[in-house]
């Protein structure tokens, strides 16, 4: 079995990619889970399949969501039709960064799915029920980000 620190890999991925893409520093908060945060904002999810089977769900507060999508669109708010595509690309790049590292460490291959975007209280469907797993919570100048990574390795 591969011995990896999943929390560290995803932490490094999201911090580096957020800095590079939108010039924002993610500051990790330990041991805090604010239930009210999950009732609003925006959610984005992606799966990995192969050696690593994972469901990664990100919650963005309203301010952070708009900051990321505006910055990725060159400083202006994207159209309603395009806005989710910017967040899709953000999570795709951050999770791709983490999964590439894991693939190279394990010498096995895992692939990413197309990301899914959910607004407000829209249901994510049964398969996206909240699982336990590694969780990361960040504070930024413009809002908060919560990341949940539920995973297992093939043949475990």
């Amino acid at each position: 079995m591969l011995s990896v620190d999943m929390e560290k890999i995803f932490d490094e991925a999201f911090c580096n990619v957020t800095k590079k893409l939108v010039n924002l520093e993610l500051k990790k908060i330990c041991g805090v889970k604010e239930e009210s945060f999950f009732a609003e904002g925006y959610r984005e999810a992606i799966e990995t399949h192969g050696y690593l089977n994972a469901k990664i769900i990100c919650w963005f507060s309203d301010g952070l969501f708009h900051y990321i999508t505006d910055m990725m669109n060159g400083g202006t708010t994207p159209s309603e039709e395009e806005i989710s595509l910017f967040l899709n690309e953000y999570i795709n790049i951050a999770c791709g960064y983490a999964v590439s590292k894991l693939n190279d460490m394990a010498g096995h291959s895992s692939r990413l799915s197309i990301p899914y975007f959910f607004k407000g209280l829209e249901k994510m469907g049964e398969k996206w029920e909240i699982y336990g797993g590694k969780s990361l919570l960040y504070h930024t100048e413009v809002g908060k980000l919560y990341i949940l990574v539920k995973y297992s390795f093939q043949n475990e």
Binding site: V17, K20, L21, M72, N73, G74, P78, E82, L85, F86, N88, E89, N92, I93, A94, C95, G96, Y97, V99, S100, K101, N103, D104, H108, S109, R111, L112, I114
Partner: protein, 126 residues
């Protein structure tokens, strides 16, 4: 000699806008942007760009399969793969379909430009 023409196949408007700004500032001409593999195949047949920049993870047929189809139709097609998944296994898959280069997302501008310059020179020397 005219400008080298480029086409981007990527479902992300972020990637296409970033690439367009970068390449046009550096003497290339972006002549097409396709949002998925199917659109990319039709657009390639219509526009015949010098170089295609292709994302891997896309809805519908992915970038690897799209590149394989393009190479069957035009063995001289010049394709540069771009992906957030940039591990050695993915690079092997890129090489297996006859391509040489895979640029990670987020890309470094100088790396992308240097690779495009190399591909341009390879095309010109054919």
């Amino acid at each position: 000699m005219g400008k080298t023409t480029l086409m981007v196949v990527d479902d992300s408007p972020f990637a296409s806008k970033q690439i367009q700004d970068l390449v046009e500032e550096n003497g290339y001409e972006m002549i097409g942007y396709a949002k998925n593999g199917e659109e990319g195949i039709h657009m390639y047949e219509e526009l015949h760009p010098d170089i295609v920049i292709m994302d891997i993870i896309m809805p519908g047929i992915d970038g690897l399969e799209t590149a394989e189809i393009l190479l069957k139709k035009d063995p001289n097609a010049t394709i540069l793969m771009l992906s957030s998944l940039c591990d050695s296994g993915t690079l092997e898959e890129v090489k297996a379909i006859g391509l040489k280069y895979l640029i990670p997302k987020p890309w470094e501008d100088d790396v992308l430009l240097a690779t495009l310059e190399m591909l341009t020179k390879q095309r010109e020397s054919k």
